[in-house]
């Protein structure tokens, strides 16, 4: 995997982590998640 591909992978993973954490916050607020 090239350095550029690794960087893209890292960006995608961090975006996914952010989404998961946001959904955790929603659940803790009693909101439903998709």
């Amino acid at each position: 995997m090239s350095a550029e591909q690794k960087l893209e992978k890292i960006k995608a993973l961090f975006a996914s982590i952010e989404t998961e954490i946001l959904e955790c916050k929603k659940l803790l607020r009693g909101e439903k998640i998709e």
Binding site: M1, A3, K6, L7, K9, I10, L13, F14, S16, I17, E20, I21, E23, C24, L27, L28, G30, K32, I33, E34
Partner: protein, 136 residues
Amino acid sequence: MSEDKVERFMEAVVDYANATEAAAVNLKRQIAEIVGVKGVVAVKEETFNILKFDRQQGARIGEYEVAYKAKNIPEKFRQAWNILNKNNAVIGDRYHGEGYAYAYWLYGEAKIYRQKLKGKVNKIASSQAREVFERK
């Protein structure tokens, strides 16, 4: 920083992000369970479907499939393995989500197992299967 060091650094960040993502997925599932929300989504089955599985036949559990680390892209394998590991997926308590064709579990470091879902997973059948499987 030399090119080699940059590469090693990025590899370390990818590993960290993979593990953190798996932990975040597991945290969400646990929170959902605690607050009583049903139907929290599992990761998409493509996470596992992109792996190459070999068909096997077990005397008691019937047909199942195994993905070997050595036969797959290490990063893809690690990501799938981490999710199953964080969710404590074992033969008696397999991992699957809504719409999944297969249920997945771990046994050993370098292998991922799966078996076609036939409606609801029977916990008793699963524990009997585990006994047979672990004796092999």
